[in-house]
């Protein structure tokens, strides 16, 4: 991200910048991209649980995104933000740059990047997800179910 800001500053001085592959990027484009990264910074902090996915919670458009939705559902997490990258190509590419992560879905807990579907699944299986949710003040439904069965 720093190099993006540096080239933004450079192009503001010279009016243009050379991006990778020798393409000339206009100052406006680089500023918009930098602004978008800032917006993402706010989006991931606005809600405790944030998921960038393909499709929507009601209609996931990819098996991995669906897996994330189902895991959260199992833990009784209803109150979370989802952003559909299929609706917005700038979001789709921007979030990969922001997280420095190549794939979707992407899960953020309390503003921090947690990982994709693989990581969430492993956290769910090894009990880490229940712990992380507890730190956010969210009591997992699975924890309640376990306590009830005792």
């Amino acid at each position: 991200m720093n190099s993006l800001l540096r080239s933004t500053a450079k192009c503001l001085r010279t009016g243009a910048a050379l991006g990778p592959h020798g393409r000339v990027w206009s100052a406006r484009f680089l500023c918009a991209a930098a602004d978008f990264q800032k917006d993402l910074g706010e989006m991931v902090k606005k809600d405790k649980v944030v998921v960038f996915m393909k499709g929507t919670r009601a209609q996931p458009m990819c098996g991995f995104s669906n897996a994330v939705v189902q895991i959260l559902r199992m833990h009784g997490v209803d109150d979370y933000a989802t952003y559909n990258v299929l609706e917005d190509s700038e979001l789709r590419e921007g979030v990969k740059v922001f997280s420095n992560w190549p794939t979707i879905p992407q899960v953020y807990l309390s503003g921090e990047f947690v990982g994709g579907c693989d990581i969430l699944l492993q956290m769910h299986q090894n009990g880490d997800l229940v712990e992380e949710l507890k730190k956010l003040g969210i009591s997992s439904a699975l924890l309640k179910a376990e306590e009830e069965s005792k």
Binding site: W101, P102, V114, G115, C117, I119, Q122
Partner: protein
Amino acid sequence: MAITADHIRDKLIKELAAVLVDVEDTSSNRCAASYKVLVVSTQFEGKPLLQRHRMVNTCLAEELKEIHAFEQKTLTPEQWEKQKSQ
């Protein structure tokens, strides 16, 4: 650059000193290049999941630009042995 399972496997072995790499081409399940990898390496020891996955992502940065879907499992040799016996 032709991305093949072998190419991915070789790169992971070389750059992560992996003792075991299994690459499954899952493209037939989807519409575009997809892979599922298992990497066992001592370099993962003491590192949290996210950091391990980032190591793999960094190793395959060029390839991932063209891969559509990617699943990964990262284990230390000890975790791998434990999993095998289960």
